[in-house]
Symmetry: C2
Subunit: 159 residues, 2 copies
C-alpha cells in the first residue's frame, strides 16, 4: 500500500509536469511497475507527437515492452492518473498486465478537462453499423480465404 501510493504519486507528478509546466497537453501520467520497480513511465504525447494513440498508458506500455523485450507484461501493475479509456484498457488487456490503478475517474476528466470517452464505451456496446462512427463489413469472402490458409499453416505462431 505504501508503494502503491508512491507509484501513483509519481504518475501524478508526471501528469502535473506535462500539463502545468511543459504545457504539452492534458494532465495524464502513467507508471508501469513490476516486482516493486518502475520499468516505464510516460505522459500524454498526443499533441507533442501529433499522434492520437499517444495516451500516457499506450506510450508507457510501448516503453515497458521495449524495456522487457516482450509484448507480454505479465505481473505488471499500471498506475495511471485517469481511468483508462477503452483504447488504453484494451491495450492493458492485450499486454496481459495484472492490474490497473487510476487516480481520477471519467467524470473528473470530463468536468475539468472536457475529455469524454463515455461515448466510445456506449458505441462499443452497439452493433458496428449502428455506431456514430460506423464499422461495416466488406469483402468477407476474400478475407476468409486468407484466414483458412493461415489456419492450415503448420508453423503458425500462437500468441
Amino acid at each position: 500500500m505504501q508503494d502503491d501510493l508512491k507509484f501513483m504519486r509519481r504518475a501524478i507528478d508526471l501528469a502535473r509536469h506535462n500539463a502545468l509546466e511543459v504545457k504539452a497537453g492534458g494532465p495524464f501520467g502513467c507508471v508501469i511497475v513490476r516486482d516493486g520497480e518502475i520499468i516505464a513511465e510516460a505522459a500524454n504525447q498526443v499533441l507533442a507527437d501529433r499522434d492520437p494513440t499517444a495516451h500516457a498508458e499506450i506510450v508507457a506500455i510501448r516503453a515497458a515492452s521495449k524495456a522487457l523485450n516482450s509484448h507480454v507484461l505479465e505481473g505488471c501493475t499500471v498506475y495511471t492518473t485517469g481511468e483508462p479509456c477503452p483504447m488504453c484498457y484494451a491495450a492493458c488487456w492485450w499486454a496481459r498486465v495484472a492490474s490497473i490503478r487510476f487516480a481520477s475517474n471519467h467524470d473528473d476528466a470530463l468536468e475539468f478537462g472536457g475529455f469524454d470517452d463515455r461515448h466510445i464505451t456506449e458505441a462499443l456496446a452497439l452493433p458496428g453499423d449502428a455506431r456514430p462512427l460506423p464499422s461495416t463489413e466488406l469483402c468477407r469472402a476474400d478475407m476468409l480465404e486468407v484466414w483458412r490458409a493461415y489456419h492450415a499453416m503448420p508453423d503458425r505462431i500462437h500468441y
Copy 2:
C-alpha cells in the same frame, strides 16, 4: 464502391503477406484513405516489434498522423481486414476518422486464429473493480488538485 473494393483488397494483400509470406504474425492489414488516396498502410507488428499495441490499425493511424502531421484524421476511411478490437476502434474514434470498413468479423478471428476480443468488450461494460482485469481508484484527492489547476490555466489547450 469500386474504390472501396480496391482499398480493402490492398488491406487483404497486406494481411496475406504478413501472415503467410513474412510469417510475422496474424493476418491483419490496414489501409487509411483520404480523398481517394492511400495515406498510410500497415500490417500487425505485435511480434515483430514486441509491442502489444502494434495492431495493424494502430500502426496505420500512427503512420497516417505522421503523413498528415496531425493527430486528427478527419475525412479518412479505415479499411481493415479484421473487425477492430476495442483498442483499435477507440483509436479510430480519437483520431476522428469518418468511417471504418472491415473484412472479417470477431467470430472469424476467433475461429481461424484464436484471437478473442469479446472478453474485452464484455469487461468494458462492467464497473472497473468487477472486471477480470480490475481497475481501481487510488489518490483521487491528490489528482483533483492537478485537475483544478489545469482547469484554471488561462492558456489551456483544447483538443
